[in-house]
């Protein structure tokens, strides 16, 4: 069954180094904050939820190291946690879970405590909770989403919203894994996802590793595939969702959504409720990270374009909500009109206890 992208073991974070896939399966051991930030920046760990879980463990690394180095002043630990949060928050601008984790861990670090050791233990427990919640969120999303797939399903996906992108079985691919567990026959079509080829390197890899049939295609062939009218639905993840349902996700998602609409194929977004940002009224307010030209111009280890060519390389695009047939979160399946259904469905969740929320989600579906 699905692989594990991030775990904490023996005072270190272990990551599947996603920059080495699919050629090599390398477990990268991360022992300090600098290495973690580097890993986030260069995408050894990627996917908003996986980054959120890894970032939580970053606080734990630093807190446990503080103890090992003989630190005993609570105020010093708190300062270190604040700096840890600032450092982590500066790694990547778009992933919402990163900021949620930073806020949450910072809050725990500032709570009253008698001893540094107690505070470190509380920090450690909080990281375990964040990871467990993410696993439970994936399971709940997957269960709801799997209901949308027919008994024999051909699913198109973009980028990697799988086990490699989360602390659990994934969101978009979680839907696939859950449908397979329910006995459905699922075939996945995976866009390669230029420039960093997460679809080719990661989605194809983790699906094959899990025994799910997968067919790879260039991003620009998805429209042609949809035009053949034998794709049942598109399922993708999300990096950030505005109050009206506009969804930021990996560059290329918008093109798939537009083509899916043209050929009347339902387009689904699967993401935890933490991906929603109700402070943003529309997707126009979502900041889009521009990435280095080299990813496009020299992406396969050799120059594929003239030296110094100008490059347009946004990391994400925004899919307008009118193209989205449904958004699946841990509370259930949300359909238009999103302006009403998104706030309502989120309000039904117990926002104080996301783990309980994920566990009780079948009830929330109604």
């Amino acid at each position: 069954m699905p692989v594990e992208a991030v775990r904490y073991a023996e005072g270190a974070i272990e990551l599947i180094d996603q920059t080495r896939l699919p050629g090599e399966f390398v477990l990268k051991r991360i022992e300090d904050l600098e290495a973690l930030c580097e890993a986030i920046r260069v995408l050894r760990v990627r996917g908003a939820p996986a980054i959120g879980v890894a970032a939580a463990y970053g606080f734990r690394l630093e807190a446990e190291r503080f103890l090992r180095e003989g630190g005993d002043k609570i105020e010093a630990l708190r300062q270190r946690m604040l700096r840890t949060g600032e450092t982590l928050a500066a790694t990547r601008p778009t992933a919402r879970n990163l900021f949620t984790t930073v806020e949450r861990m910072t809050r725990v670090a500032q709570a009253p405590a008698n001893h540094t050791r107690d505070l470190v233990a509380r920090i450690a427990r909080e990281t375990d909770a964040i990871h467990a919640e993410d696993r439970a969120l994936c399971e709940a999303i997957a269960r709801h989403g799997a209901e949308l797939l027919p008994q024999s399903a051909r699913v198109l996906t973009h980028c990697n919203a799988g086990a490699l992108a989360t602390g659990g079985i994934g969101t978009a691919l979680g839907v696939v894994y859950a449908a397979v567990r329910q006995g459905k026959v699922v075939q996945v079509f995976a866009d390669e996802t230029r420039p960093l080829l997460q679809g080719a390197r990661l989605t194809a890899w983790e699906l094959e590793k899990s025994g799910v049939p997968v067919t790879l295609l260039c991003d620009n062939a998805a429209a042609s595939l949809l035009a053949q009218r034998d794709i049942d639905c598109v399922v993708v993840g999300a990096d950030r969702i505005a109050r009206n349902g506009d969804t930021a996700n990996k560059i290329g998602t918008l093109a798939v959504a537009i083509a899916a609409r043209r050929f009347a194929v339902p387009f689904y977004v699967a993401a935890p409720s933490t991906t929603f940002d109700l402070a943003l009224s529309t997707g126009a307010e979502i900041p889009i990270e521009q990435r280095p030209a080299e990813e496009v111009a020299a992406g396969f280890g050799r120059a594929t374009a003239p030296a110094g060519v100008a490059v347009f390389n946004p990391a994400f695009d925004v899919t307008p909500s009118d193209l989205i047939a449904a958004i699946i979160h841990e509370g259930g399946v949300v359909r238009p009109p999103y302006e009403r259904t998104i706030p309502d469905s989120l309000a039904q969740l117990n926002v104080e206890d996301p783990l309980a929320r994920a566990r009780s989600s079948p009830a929330a579906e109604e």
Copy 2:
């Protein structure tokens, strides 16, 4: 100004070796038929019109060599020209212009003549005519297309329909070059065009070399660029156009056309009249070549996907004509309803004399 993909100079063919681009600019000097066939086979020269012109010069090479070697029997020269045609025709199976050239040169070689020297001169003149016609076709298409561009234009293109693909200034990129000559300020956005990256390797290179500002993007970022609403139009080439205007072109063209429609950006096709196939009533009748999995899964000398993964890799897609704002050929700009305007506009062309047709094209525009 635009580069020259093919030329004949001092008894040899000079090609820009496109397999060395964009890393190196190598002019390959071709002095015999074997070298020319190799160049066509390994894509040192590519693009149907450019192959057609290069093949014509192949006959001239062989004919002039025949004279230099002291040949004086007309029948021997004719036999040599027949063998040249057979050898060239066996290099690549699809390029239509190659076969047109072979038929035409063979016909000239079989025409009555008193001396070998006269026949060689006639062969040389025919190669010049073939090249001149291709240049004139490009110029006529370019001139018509350039009228569609505003004074300051931002143009999105896909694949390479440029000087490197033809004997002249190209079709889609010819439109850009002509607009620049008219004093317009043109900025081009070039899709990299997976899997073989003709946009990154060739389009970006030839535009830079010609001093036209170019920005490279991944195919999947085109929708995002179009969503920003500061692209004035899309211009692409075509491999085959059905009677109703449905257009087969490089894979990925369809996705761009669908996105352009969504964001109300006009989508233009630029191609010579020889690209139309009136025997096909719609694009559904255009056969689509499937290409090897390795182009996607292991392009550029390293594996980018798990070994043996299934791959969907069509070479072309078909853009339905309802997405095409206009088709530009050497006779002018054709707009819907294409069922009527395409046959009418082609009937107005003097199909017996393509060179005269191209020269008189401003009149044909009305």
